[in-house]
């Protein structure tokens, strides 16, 4: 469904991605694993059109995305929930969700999706008139994912959804992510919590210094000595 | 260091040439233009110190120019020797800067910009009300009025400002100022006392601005006190510095020459104030297409590889 072919990306004069390729099939959860600053977020931003690649191509269901602006990419059904969560702190929860459905694609089925999101995260319904800034970290992350869902994505990209959250909250979020996946939404996941990431994902890519260095079934990676050493700590071996 | 010697010779040569200019020509228009250019070099360099090197976009620069001008003018016409009046003017400007500096530097970004703009406007309003009548030179001074001392004074002012900026840019003070401009947190945690550094930069900048005002007050036959506080003085300095190249030694010089010559040339060929409008259009074009000013444009055009710049891999 998603095909990233040999892309290079620059931040100003700095090259952030080197010849990166990646594929994702319909209904899959794929994880991207790598150290801080290795280019995981950059890759998601490239796909979402925030930082278009200078070379290579990005295909989604056969359509070239790499020349499209961000707001058009949303219309194709590709949605990014960025690391800073991409919500509007000074607006209330229901306004945030409404803006999540700003695209033509999302607006058509706004009411039904809203229903689904409130079913997934009931707390959001209780807080719908509250300013986003006053929500807890976990609630903000739920809102971020909910807002993403309102654009009716076929592919949802999540950047560090567990960032700064307590373990229990993280668990809830990931349960929700699995539920979302079961409704047929494909998921591209960037996650520092390698354990969880590899548990929910089917396949994973390991990225180092802007290059994909390994690509494997998730369950194999969990057994891979090298990965364990680099990302889980040597004591695990 | 041969490279430095070369620059010194060029600089000295230019000063010598400028000093001899009145020997070659007595055309008053040439002298007037030169006078203006030199005064603008002084004024824009003074803004360059606080705005270009220390990175504080001070839009209240006219206040210090005006204070210098007004103080100098009134003390001078009251009978104080001119040099003493001039220094007093610059001194008053500096004192005022230090007074308002501490609260002003509490403001960041956009608020500093607006705060300084409003501060100058307050002074303008007060001065307009307090001194509504233009100050005209007395007849005896008018009779002996000569452009020549004004020209040499302007030259001295301009040279002083260039020397000041040269030494600042190579001193500990300048290093601290630039560090503040680039990143206050990093500067702070590297030991730079932000407030102290900004205040010193502000003091030097406003002293030179006051000097520029004083020289202008000496140069003009009639002065409307409110006029020297007009935001136009700030805008002119900012425009010159940006067009020439902000935070560089040469930028304001190039900017001033370009500014005065183009303005004069346009005013000769266009009716009324339209030359200002054309100048505005040109300025906008420069901002849009040469965002780093002439200096950077020339540098980039001249050679793709310069100090500390990797050759560009990509076109953009």
């Amino acid at each position: 469904m998603l095909e990233v072919n040999h892309i290079d990306t620059y931040y100003g004069e700095l090259k952030a991605l080197w010849d990166v390729s990646l594929t994702l099939d319909k209904g899959e959860i794929v994880a991207l694993i790598g150290a801080n600053g290795s280019g995981k977020s950059t890759l998601l931003e490239a796909i979402a059109g925030l930082l278009p690649p200078t070379t290579g191509e990005i295909l989604f269901e056969g359509v070239r995305l790499d020349k499209e602006p961000s707001h058009r990419i949303v219309e194709f059904g590709v949605c990014l929930v960025p690391e800073d969560r991409g919500i509007f702190p000074g607006m209330n929860v229901s306004e945030n969700l409404e803006l999540g459905a700003f695209s033509k694609r999302g607006r058509k089925e706004k009411e039904e999706t809203l229903h689904v999101v409130y079913g997934l995260f009931p707390i959001l319904k209780n807080r719908r008139n509250q300013l986003t800034r006053t929500l807890s970290g976990g609630e903000q992350q739920m809102l971020a994912i909910g807002k993403g869902l309102l654009s009716r994505p076929k592919l949802l990209m999540l950047d560090e959804p567990s960032l700064g959250l307590a373990p229990l909250v993280t668990k809830n979020i990931f349960e929700a992510i699995c539920q979302i996946n079961q409704t047929g939404v494909s998921i591209l996941l960037v996650e520092q919590n390698v354990h969880i990431a590899l548990r929910v994902a089917k396949r994973a890519y390991i990225i180092e210094n802007g290059r994909i260095v390994q690509h494997e079934q998730a369950k194999n990676l969990l057994r891979d000595r090298r990965v364990i050493q680099a990302y889980l700590g040597t004591h695990y071996a | 260091m041969p490279k430095n010697w070369k620059s010194f010779f060029i600089f000295g040569g230019i000063i010598a040439l400028l000093a001899m200019l009145p020997l070659f020509t007595n055309r008053s228009d040439v002298l007037t233009w030169s006078c203006l250019t030199l005064q603008y070099i002084l004024l824009s360099q003074s803004w360059n110190i606080i705005g270009g090197y220390a990175g504080q976009v001070n839009l209240g620069h006219a206040a210090f120019f005006g204070l210098g001008a007004l103080t100098t003018r009134y003390l001078w016409l009251a009978g104080l020797p001119f040099p003493a009046s001039l220094l007093s003017g610059a001194f008053i400007a500096t004192v005022f800067a230090l007074l308002i500096g501490i609260p002003a530097f509490r403001l960041r970004g956009i608020y500093f910009v607006i705060g300084t703009l409003v501060l100058a406007e307050i002074l303008k309003v007060v001065i307009d009300t307090r001194f509504p009548v233009a100050s005209v030179l007395p007849v005896e001074t008018l009779l002996t009025y000569s452009l020549l001392p004004r020209y040499y004074l302007s030259l001295m002012g301009a040279v002083l400002s260039v020397i000041a900026v040269y030494f600042i840019s190579r001193s500990r003070l300048g290093l601290g100022m630039m560090a503040i401009r680039e990143d206050e947190d990093a500067a702070r945690t590297s030991g730079v006392n932000i407030l102290q550094n900004k205040l010193i930069a502000f003091a030097i900048s406003t002293f030179l601005a006051g000097l520029a005002g004083g020289i202008f007050a000496f140069y003009m036959v009639a002065i409307q006190p409110g006029y020297v506080f007009s935001p136009i003085w700030t805008f002119d300095s900012v425009v010159i510095v940006f067009v020439g190249g902000i935070g560089t030694l040469i930028g304001p010089i190039i900017g001033s020459v370009f500014f005065v010559l183009l303005k004069q040339w346009l005013s000769l060929h266009l009716p009324g104030g339209l030359h200002l409008a054309v100048f505005g259009v040109l300025f906008i074009l420069v901002v849009l297409y040469m965002p780093d000013g002439f200096i950077e444009a020339i540098r980039r055009y001249g050679k793709m590889v310069t100090l500390g710049r990797k050759p560009m891999v990509q076109g953009g």
Binding site: L163, T170, A230 | T189, G191, L307
Partner: protein, 240 residues
């Protein structure tokens, strides 16, 4: 004892970033500091370096209370730091960047020649000697990190705080960096090192402190700390 933190607290809009933290740093050691993203590591560095003021609690350097001091004073007393997201003086050359540290730091100087010589020495030490005339904006991520460290070293600190210096480095580069950190320690500087790269933390630290949600959850020898269940859960994710 070099640095003492006594019941330090800091909250942001109700969220406790640092919660009554007690922490001691001993002279001459490398203290590894670990914890998941958002656990308060960077906040702690901001508190120590004076960029943030604690809501309560004290920080003492060699017995002197530095809590009320402003950042530049703290730096001049001998604490230098780097930033996780590097903050180079972008439009200045590498040399000038490092000169700032020398000219204003713990052993300030008015002589630009002295600052320049010292800066050149440090740049060579850190491996940026050839790029001393490059503008910082033209440096790559790795070089920026080196520059950041060089600038901090130039202030002649007694205590150096390194914030994720090795993030995003290749394994070889990490090894180089580890050697470098040890060299810095051998020159008599005490270090607090925040790192995500486990190998590095285990390889260089004399002692490790783990925090989560602003609270200290473990402290001790590196090998012991990473075996504690609380740390594993917090840092590496719960094995549910």
């Amino acid at each position: 004892m070099m640095l003492e933190m006594d019941s330090l607290s800091k909250s942001f809009g109700g969220l406790m970033a640092i919660n009554h933290l007690d922490l001691d740093v001993y002279k001459g050691e490398i203290l590894g500091f670990i914890g998941p993203n958002g656990s308060g590591k960077t906040t702690l560095f901001n508190l120590i370096s004076g960029l943030l003021k604690p809501d309560s609690g004290k920080i003492k350097l060699n017995g002197i209370d530095i809590t009320p001091l402003s950042s530049h004073k703290i730096c001049q007393m001998g604490i230098a730091r780097t930033f996780q997201l590097t903050k180079p003086f972008a439009q200045m050359t590498s040399l000038e960047n490092v000169m700032v540290g020398k000219a204003f730091g713990c052993t300030p100087t008015w002589s630009m020649r002295e600052a320049k010589e010292e800066a050149e020495k440090i740049l060579r030490f850190i491996g940026l000697g050839e790029k001393s005339m490059w503008r910082a904006s033209a440096l790559g991520v790795v070089d920026r990190k080196k520059l950041e460290t060089a600038r901090a070293l130039a202030t002649k600190p007694k205590l150096l705080l390194l914030d994720e210096m090795m993030a995003g480095l290749t394994p070889t580069e990490v090894e180089e960096a580890m050697v470098l950190v040890k060299k810095i320690r051998d020159s008599g500087i005490t270090l607090i090192v925040v790192e995500h790269v486990m190998e590095a933390i285990l390889g260089i630290s004399d002692r490790v402190v783990a925090i989560n949600a602003g609270e200290k959850i473990a402290e001790g020898a590196p090998q012991d700390v990473v075996r504690e269940r609380k740390v594993i859960e917090a840092y590496l994710g719960e094995e549910a």
